[in-house]
């Protein structure tokens, strides 16, 4: 029976189940197939902090959302068109995100009285009107899987475990995804367990065949490949791209890479990834704590390596004193902060942008460093290289602020040609750089490059340049301990001037204003780039005029930032915090920017940003005086 195939331009699927149901793996596989098929895509894994929360509870629901399209897209999407709910908890936890008419696929075998009551359903939502606005496919997924595997000598439990592959097979058929990649993946993953390997492949095929043969699914869908710039692509998560950027940057700087780190969500994958690449000369050191992680990295930098430490907010707090030492020693150091919900332990697996002010000010004394932030998973690669460029050229710690949303999210990546990447070499000091009054040639560790204000990087093993440096204030030039008041004032101002001077070495803030007539600017930083961009597109499609700009450098800001801010009647600054960039902009430029803030551990939806922008445009265009400010802090 040939089934009807309907053409779609984009689809958002959310796989949801218990933490132990393998939803992240299912999502990853569907993503890999989709990437191979040539769609543009963006993903959003969302999972609890507990490894195995009590089964069947709302707290244990893990989900993976994938947005794929025949055109370029900027976010994993707001509202799923399809929800795969492996149990009542997964349905209940996700139903409120579904628009009317969405498809819901549920495993009826899990809709037992006990499971229903665990999440507060007194009547099964499959039997009352709860789902009447949706297109429901109620399947006995577990039993179908077990039946499909009846010829295997597996326990019922092992057979049931393959139900995620049944679901993946069904969805793969439904959206015409290629199947070969998943079969190969399963063959490799379970190469040493032939029973499990064959069962998973069989379950996957059974799911596929179920879609093709049963009448429950009358239509399948097709999303054509997207038109993307030519070249070779792969799919990549933010944390992997960031790790690759660090490796590439170190190679471009011709420095050995040393990572000192302590495991912490959501940054641990950087440690995991880098530890795979010892063949690239990468040393990874799993330290006894966060402090030792950054300490060892700084020690490595003192010895002429590129020291990097990766962590999340709670780890940055612990590293603060050592970062201060790095500011004082003026040595290269990259601190990667994959931000998560705070304060304290906060929301370990959820995203937030609330470490910006800590990055700016979270140390004792006047202690400036450079701050950069990637805007998307693939941009993590370029931003890591930029962090290394600044750290080595200016001999300074650089804080790289990623977040949980782009760290775990993935998108297609046009693989860069390494021959086109910049040369980041900065020479070590090799000779005396100062002549004393009596004509001796000596080495002064704090005699600076007049242009960058960077001090020479003289590494142990270099004869004649022996010197001692530390966290006590040093005299300008020769670098010996100095308690002189005027010298301290000079050194404090010089350290600040060095960081401020980076503004001359970074691109100007670019504004996207297609009509050139916008009165409202929306300015973002970090991972809000996707939602902001998508919202601007929608506003413009409906005739609105909005300018947008995005900051990659948070300290210093690009030198034209003030000029840009003052060019608009209104500036909206969306952030997943209570207004940290807003505070910096207001303080520095005296511009009354409007914060649009959300701290739910979730990225902005396109719709909420679209509404906010539309409201502000309306208020700016309304007859004066303005009676209210529509979309302020919320």
């Amino acid at each position: 029976m040939d089934k009807q195939v309907q053409q779609l331009d984009r689809v958002i699927i959310r796989f949801a189940g218990d933490s132990g149901d393998g939803m992240q793996l299912t999502g990853d596989r569907f993503t890999a197939e989709t990437a191979n098929f040539g769609n543009d895509l963006a993903t959003w894994p969302n999972f609890p902090a507990e490894i195995r929360a009590p089964a069947g509870t709302l707290a244990g629901v893990s989900s993976f959302q994938l947005h794929f399209a025949d055109h370029d897209i900027m976010t994993p999407g707001d509202a799923p068109n399809v929800l795969v709910a492996m149990n009542p908890a997964a349905l209940r936890a996700n139903l409120h995100d579904l628009p009317r008419g969405a498809m819901v696929i549920v495993d009826t075998d899990e809709f037992t009285k006990r499971n229903l009551s665990k999440v507060g359903y007194s009547v099964s939502p499959l039997e009352d009107n709860t789902l009447q606005a949706y297109h429901v496919h109620a399947l006995a997924l577990t039993q179908l899987t077990v039946d499909a595997l009846s010829s295997f000598e597996l326990s019922r439990k092992d057979a049931e475990r393959a139900k995620n592959m049944f679901a993946l097979g069904l969805l793969s058929w439904l959206y015409g995804r290629p199947a070969e990649g998943t079969e190969k993946f399963l063959r490799d993953k379970f190469a040493r367990k032939p029973d499990i390997r064959d069962a998973n492949i069989a379950a996957f095929k059974a799911g596929w065949n179920y879609g093709e043969t049963t009448e429950d699914f009358a239509v399948s869908y097709s999303v054509a490949p997207a038109k993307m710039p030519g070249g070779e692509y792969r799919n990549i998560t933010g944390n992997t791209a960031l790790s690759y950027g660090l490796i590439a940057g170190a190679q471009l700087a011709k420095l050995p890479l040393f990572l000192g780190a302590y495991p912490i969500t959501p940054a641990s994958d950087i440690l995991h990834e880098l530890s795979k690449h010892k063949g690239m000369g990468v040393r990874t050191f799993q330290a006894e704590d966060e402090i030792a992680g950054v300490g060892a990295a700084l020690g490595a930098s003192f010895g002429g390596a590129l020291g990097v430490t990766s962590t999340s907010g709670p780890g940055v707090v612990l590293k603060a004193e050592t970062i201060g030492l790095a500011v004082s020693l003026e040595l290269p150091l990259v601190i990667v902060d994959v931000q998560r919900g705070g304060p304290s332990t906060g929301l370990p697996t959820k995203t937030e942008q609330s470490d910006l002010l800590m990055a700016m000010f979270g140390r004792n004394g006047e202690c400036p460093l450079a701050i950069v932030a990637p805007q998307s998973p693939t941009d993590c690669f370029d931003t890591a290289i930029e962090a290394i460029r600044l750290a080595t050229k200016y001999r300074t710690p650089v804080m790289l602020l990623s977040d949980g949303y782009i760290a775990n999210g993935s998108e297609p990546w046009l693989i860069p040609d390494v021959t086109q990447l910049p040369d980041l070499q900065t020479p070590f000091a090799t000779a005396a750089n100062h002549e004393t009054e009596n004509g001796d040639r000596v080495f002064w560790p704090y005699k600076r490059d007049p242009k960058t204000l960077a001090r020479p990087w003289a590494i142990p093993g270099t004869p004649g340049l022996e010197h001692r440096i530390g966290g006590i204030e040093k005299a300008d030039g020769h670098g010996n301990i100095s308690y002189d008041p005027a010298n301290h004032d000079l050194m404090t101002r010089t350290r600040q001037a060095k960081i401020d001077g980076i503004a001359n070495d970074i691109p100007k803030l670019a504004v996207d204003d297609p009509s050139g007539k916008a009165k409202v600017l929306i300015l973002g930083w970090g991972s809000t780039y996707g939602p902001i961009g998508a919202a601007c597109r929608r506003v413009r499609l409906s005739g609105g005029e909005i300018a947008s700009a995005h900051l990659r450098h948070l300290n210093p800001f690009p030198e034209n930032t003030g000029e840009v801010l003052r060019s608009y009647d209104r500036v909206i600054v969306p952030e997943m915090n209570l207004g940290q960039l807003s505070m910096l902009l207001r303080a520095k430029y005296l511009v009354d920017v409007m914060g649009f803030n959300k701290v739910q551990g979730l990225p902005f939806s396109i719709e909420e940003l679209e509404t906010a922008i539309t409201d502000v445009i309306a208020s700016v265009n309304a007859p004066k005086p303005r009676t209210r400010r529509p979309a302020g802090d919320r």
Binding site: A32, A35, N36, G38, P225, M228, P229, G230, G231, E232, Y233, R234, Y244, I247, A248, Q251, F258, G260, H277, K278, G279, M280, G281, R283, F285, A287, E288, I291, A292, G295, A296, A297, L298, G299, A300, S301, F302, G303, G304, A305, E321, T322, G324, L329, I415, D417, V418, P460, G461, T462, G464, L465, E466, R468, I469, G470, G471, I472, N480, I481
Partner: protein
């Protein structure tokens, strides 16, 4: 751990075999920096500094390949006075910082200077982890049983009941015994010496320098301002004869003015000091610093009582285990993932092409 065909890690060379040797003759003066030494007059640190500056030329290393790393405290000013590379860091963190340096630079001789507060209080965690990893570091722990730089609070090695500015009614917490702690952390080299005994100090430092892996040397050091005389009984020519046990590998553990005291295993399995008699002389313990089992070394570290009677000095333990640095270097050589090819790494295994 898979091995490649290079010599057995940590076994095939001494601590300093990868550090370039100098061809010029060095003297004490070569290791003195131009900085004025600013410890209090009479401080035990002067004697240690002089001993170190005096013994470094014996190692014959290029001095640009020597690095001194310290934390915070009086002892931590030490690097400023050595004309080598030096890093005066932050409180307690020197072992961590030195670990990153040593792990990336096998051609350096890396020394850590620390004190009882720096190493055992704020930096206790880094110390025990450096010891268990066996990073190629030489850690000199100046123990004066007091906080000097912050002007006289009790330290983690102060005796219980210590009256100080912060403990006017006496301190409440039991002290650490640094040697016991290091042995408990499975350190491969643990020794104790005295600031005032230059000959012994230099002997121990030399043994530490040559040890492949982390060497912890506790140096009993006098703070004449805030805790004067803390180790006096061990320094007094008469008192020390009775109280001090000089450990020598391969020698029976005997001491006392007439060598009349000795260390023996008792029927209950513990060890203690006995009067040596012709009957028990053959049962006196012979010191074995190379014993794999740290049990006897630990028991020796527990001998002293509150009056410091029966205090052993010398090398408690000196065993060889692969160093962290060498193991890390070996993994770099063995791992051929992406084989150093950046483009190949970026491509990964799952790509597609858009025309």
């Amino acid at each position: 751990m898979p091995r490649d065909d290079s010599p057995p890690i940590g076994l095939g060379y001494k601590s300093l075999s990868l550090v370039p040797k100098t061809e010029v003759k060095q003297s004490t003066k070569d290791f003195k920096s131009d900085q004025e030494v600013r410890w209090c007059p009479g401080c035990g640190d002067y004697a240690i500094l002089a001993a170190v500056q005096g013994f470094m030329p014996d190692l014959g290393l290029k001095k640009e390949n020597v690095v001194w790393v310290s934390g915070i405290g009086c002892s931590s000013r030490f690097p400023y006075y050595m004309d080598t590379y030096g890093l005066h860091s932050i409180h307690g963190r020197a072992p961590a910082i030195a670990t990153g340096l040593s792990a990336t630079r096998p051609d350096l001789s890396v020394w850590v200077v620390t004190g009882d507060g720096d190493a055992l209080s704020i930096g206790g965690n880094h110390l025990i982890h450096a010891l268990r990893r066996n990073v190629n570091l030489k850690i000199l722990l100046f123990n004066n049983r007091i906080y000097g730089l912050t002007k006289g609070q009790y330290s983690p090695t102060s005796e219980i009941g210590k009256v100080t500015k912060s403990t006017p009614l006496g301190s409440l917490d039991a002290p650490f015994n640094p040697v016991s702690l290091a042995l408990g952390a499975e350190a491969t080299f643990v020794a104790r010496t005295l600031d005032s005994d230059r000959k012994h100090l230099v002997e121990v430092l030399r043994a530490a320098a040559e040890h492949p892996g982390t060497a912890l040397v506790e140096i009993y050091q006098n703070c004449n301002i805030f805790n004067d005389g803390a180790w006096e009984i061990l320094k007094d020519p008469e008192g020390s004869k009775r109280a001090l046990i000089r450990l020598q590998h391969g020698e029976p553990i005997r001491f006392g003015p007439d060598n009349e005291r000795g260390v023996m295993r008792l029927p209950n399995g513990t060890i203690d000091v006995v009067e040596v008699t012709p009957e028990n002389e053959s049962q006196i313990l012979v010191h074995d610093a190379h014993a794999e089992d740290p049990g006897v070394a630990f028991a020796l570290s527990r001998l002293p009582d509150l009056t410091l009677d029966k205090t052993p000095i010398g090398v408690f333990r000196d065993v060889v285990r692969p160093t962290y640095d060498a193991l890390m270097a070996s993994q770099l050589r063995q791992n051929t993932n992406s084989a150093g090819d950046l483009q190949r790494m970026l491509r990964g295994t799952d790509t597609w092409t858009v025309n």
